[in-house]
């Protein structure tokens, strides 16, 4: 066996990739759709951000990555980081090819991260001495109790939190925010000190250029240092019940910024109520931003008493938690979960479930 590792995937071999993904995952995987694939792996230049392993002309393994600067303890010196996705190898080649793929990205990025890894991948990165956190916190706000109970896990309706009090007029604080607005002074956003840099380029790519989902970016507070949120409204498959999904929520750490954050969190509730949402949620590691949400009426979800589904395509009526793993090069910090800013917007945690057109109508 002569295995070749390519640092990027050449898109002129797309049919081989499509067949590989269909074989290793399933034929209706969202990434089997070329438009979705090109967007996600930034392949418009002719090659995709995927390390690929080949045995001759046979594609035998992949390690996708979402590259970009990450803050890692300093705002003035971002690191090259990458979120790892779609690390998979054909069964006949699982004696070294997977590690070779990992080594390729380790050589290029001092900070590697993963979200929602399966048990086997978690075991592997544990051996590589990565930091692993099994539960990224989730914050929820119930807006319609009856609709929420209709989505709740079997027998868990009584665990659905009480409906939150929404302040009338709270949404008036909101304004649209464009990622081409001047970049915020990041050093004022202390809780973002560990995590992907939410630059204009990142927000544009991740949210405004998404080929399937439609996101809104909104802000409150001072134009120079706004509180910013990104959300979408998703309709639960089979029921059509809308659910508010917050993907980003951050604000400056000073008193004015914190007040803008509370206003933003309250305004989101009003926006979701007006959209008829059963509930809203936000998966986020940051303890500081969790406290802001709590002040506005959102509830930290106890994983032991979770009642509301995370995955809605289809509705998964069982507990699901996102884990976080990261490996940082020697000399870099190893932060605890609560001081990092990681959300479901990172990695591939918020990818469409399927490539079919019905994904498009699942969005409000």
């Amino acid at each position: 066996m002569g295995v070749t590792i390519l640092p990027r995937f050449p898109m002129d071999r797309w049919p081989l990739m499509q067949a590989f993904l269909a074989r290793r995952y399933r034929p209706d995987l969202a990434l089997c759709n070329r438009e979705m694939f090109v967007w996600f792996f930034r392949a418009s230049t002719g090659s995709a951000e995927i390390v690929s392993a080949w045995d001759g002309d046979r594609l035998i393994g992949t390690m996708g990555y979402i590259a970009g600067p990450v803050f890692w303890g300093r705002f003035d010196e971002p690191q090259d980081g990458a979120w790892l996705v779609n690390w998979v190898v054909d069964p006949d080649y699982r004696h070294g090819v997977g590690i070779a793929l990992m080594r390729e990205v380790q050589a290029r990025f001092p900070v590697l991260l993963g979200i929602g890894a399966g048990a086997e991948n978690e075991r592997i990165v544990a051996r590589l001495r990565w930091a692993i956190f099994p539960n990224i916190p989730r914050y929820v706000a119930v807006l319609g109790r009856e609709q929420s109970e209709a989505l709740a896990f079997p027998g868990a309706a009584s665990d659905v939190p009480s409906a939150v009090a929404v302040r009338d007029g709270a949404e008036r604080a909101l304004r649209s925010w464009r990622p081409d607005d001047p970049a915020p002074a990041w050093e004022r956003y202390a809780p973002l000190i560990y995590g992907t840099v939410r630059s204009s380029a990142y927000l544009r790519w991740r949210y405004l250029e998404h080929p399937v989902f439609r996101f809104e970016i909104v802000a409150t507070g001072s134009p120079a240092a706004p509180a910013i949120a990104v959300y979408r409204v998703e309709r639960a498959q089979g029921t059509g019940i809308p659910v508010g999904r917050v993907m980003e929520f951050f604000h400056p750490g000073d008193p004015g910024g914190s007040a803008a954050g509370v206003d933003l969190a309250r305004a989101l509730l009003a926006r979701f109520r007006d959209a008829g949402c059963a509930f809203a949620d936000f998966v986020c590691s940051s303890t500081a931003y969790g406290a802001t949400l709590a002040e506005a009426g959102w509830t930290f979800e106890d994983p032991q008493r979770a009642a509301l589904p995370v995955r809605l395509q289809p509705v998964e009526r069982a507990t699901f938690r996102y884990n976080l793993e990261y490996g940082a090069a020697s000399g870099l910090a190893r932060p605890e979960l609560g001081v990092a800013y990681v959300t479901r917007g990172d990695g591939d945690a918020d990818r469409p479930a399927r490539s079919e057109d019905e994904v498009r109508v699942s969005n409000a």
Partner: protein, 84 residues
Amino acid sequence: MQLRREEIQQLFGEVFEADPHAFALATGPEDVATWDSFNHLNLVVSLEERAGVSFSTDEIASMLSVAKIVALLREHGVDVDWPE
């Protein structure tokens, strides 16, 4: 750096939770039930830590027998005492 045959066999035995003496130069993944993808990674990392070397991606992908691994260790300057 010097490694004796018994030390390497001991390392293999620990990684694969098997009898160290079962590992001969001709032994490969097909001969060891526990030589799965995780334990292959475990083997690579353990060898690197023990011998103080770092294998390239090509080398890692080629580690399909004890003989090949011994040869790679020698290429990295490790004095392996394991006669062929």
